[in-house]
């Protein structure tokens, strides 16, 4: 469907709450002044007034209509400016943009989610979307790795709430690169918990999101375990400006990642130059 409107103009959104997740990651709960729905995996351009925009994937459940959460790591100009914002400030939101996860096509399947760092943001939206209609799926395995225990996003949810959702169908595996005195779980990069999945690969899909290097090794690990290339869904993080398929910044081979993705299966992009960079 063609949308006839100014595709470059953001909708004003009020920041209702700012949650410190880790020393460098905060979650911003915002309420857009015009309703903006989204599907898990679709992203939005968030504007800091006068500073500029950057792309972020909502981390809240798509079933929550009033508010949207963005979980944002401080890495540069726009993200530093966002991190200085407080409850009551306003941002701009433009979207939803791109194609998210094809949940309907996954009905009846087992889903293996592999994430790292701030990649946990889109994956939380996905996890919530899946578990809020758990009858549709056979099993959900959520593997997540962080640098240290302090760097785990949504710690309370992941460690206390999620494992209780339905222990027969939902399994959570956590790992950290470096433990500390409080950490009793696995130590090692996320691929070390991506094994003995207990899933039927033929009727399973895998989803990967995280820093480029993690995406690369997680993908190779999943291939090694026997996942077909077309069953591995990657959330590609490319430089973006317009988010609407015009500006050329996000190209990966012939794909405009902002429109054809950001979620793309590995078979489509495995040979594209610069896939992991």
């Amino acid at each position: 469907m063609q949308v006839v409107k100014n595709i470059y103009k953001p909708v004003t959104a009020d920041i209702l709450e700012v949650i410190d997740e880790t020393p460098t990651i905060k979650t911003f709960v915002v309420r857009p002044r015009q309703p903006i729905g989204f599907q898990a995996g679709e992203f939005m351009e968030v504007t800091v007034p006068g500073v500029g925009e950057a792309p972020f994937t909502p981390s809240s459940s798509p079933n929550v209509k009033e508010t949207i959460d963005f979980t944002i790591m401080k890495v540069g100009r726009v993200t530093e400016a966002i991190h200085r914002m407080r409850k009551g400030d306003t941002v701009g939101v433009r979207g939803p943009l791109g194609k998210g996860y094809p949940l309907d096509a996954w009905k009846g399947k087992e889903i293996c989610i592999v994430g790292g760092g701030v990649g946990g943001a889109p994956l939380r939206a996905l996890f919530l979307a899946l578990t809020e209609r758990l009858d549709d799926f056979k099993k959900i395995l959520y593997c997540y790795g962080a640098r240290t225990p302090k760097d785990i996003v949504y710690k309370k949810q992941i460690m206390e709430e999620w494992p209780k959702i339905d222990p027969k169908k939902v399994e959570i595996r956590l790992t950290v690169d470096e433990g500390d005195e409080t950490w009793k779980g696995n130590v090692g990069v996320v691929t070390t918990v991506v094994r003995d999945l207990g899933l039927d690969l033929a009727s399973s899909v895998a989803v990967v999101c995280g820093p480029p290097i993690m995406m690369k090794f997680a993908t190779f690990k999943l291939l090694e375990l026997g996942y077909p290339e077309s069953s591995i869904y990657l959330s590609m993080e490319k430089n973006m400006s317009c988010g609407v398929g015009k500006c050329g910044h996000c190209m990966l081979g012939e794909y405009m990642v902002c429109q054809d993705g950001p979620v793309l299966t590995y078979d489509l992009i495995k040979d594209k130059p610069g896939i992991w960079d």
């Binding site: 103009k9 953001p10 500006c247």
Partner: protein, 339 residues
Amino acid sequence: METHYVSEADFIKLLSWLENRGDLYVASREDDQVSIKPFGEVGEFTYPGVRAYQPLKPLFFSLLEEVAEYPTEEEALREIKPFSILGAASCDIRAIEALDHVFLEGQFKDPFYEERRRKSLIIGFDCTEPLETCFCVIMGNNPYPEKNFDLNLSKIEGGYVVEVGSEKGKEVVEANKEIFKPATENHLSQRDAIRSSVKATVEKQSKEFKPSGAWREILAKAFDDSAWARNVETCVECAACLFICPTCQCFLLYDERAGDRYKRLRMWDACAYKNFAKVAGGANPRPHLVERFRHRYYHKLDYFPKNYGFEACTGCGRCIVACPGKIDMRKVLKEVCKS
């Protein structure tokens, strides 16, 4: 398509009609260079014979423009006055076709481009004096427009054969019925003879650069060719080839304070720049100049055809003229074809 004949004397009447329609830009010949100018600055129309030195792109997609103001409630977009372009070469019409795909297709239409396209009237012409750098014929195009124009002029003895290519073009004919005369067999055979002779000229000078097959198939095997590195040596990263390109679409959005509000601006950008695709973590899919150089060729001749079915290089040769490093796209591709 319907064709007519307009004599040179009658054509002057059409010019004043076009001036009344809105803004009128003409491709005008001065010495041996053709440029696009507001008709008011030139005052007359001389058949251009070949493409203008600047592309038509800025008339539809500005180098720099405001695309949004926020926070505001209203959605109103700037209205644009109707305008006509008299003198679009075949390659430039092809370029607009390429930009139409980019800006008007997919889930989102660019409202600024769309408004300009809606308000524009494009009058093409057959090339009669191709430049030495013209290579449209090896990019699947002819030196005379065959589609995607509103009207097209072919210069013949004493006047023009005018072909109608759209509803908008038809309206021009309707409104100026008295000057559009039937095109005779003789008119058409004159036109066709000129067309084949100009085509033969461009074919002759392009012969050595003619690809052995489809560009996509050639590039599919050429990614690691040493020709890319050899040819990028004199590139100074000025991006002139990209800014002068009639089909380059890349841009950057940036925001500024404007009184108690903010505005969003859109400025042309270029994939030749090092940080064009760099992401925050420092990862960069094309950190080396040669990769960015090659990306341009792949975008035009592989990625674009995969998405839209034809090359986004029109063969206009502007990048050859603009390059301070004397990089000639035809020669680069010839080397790539050879190996």
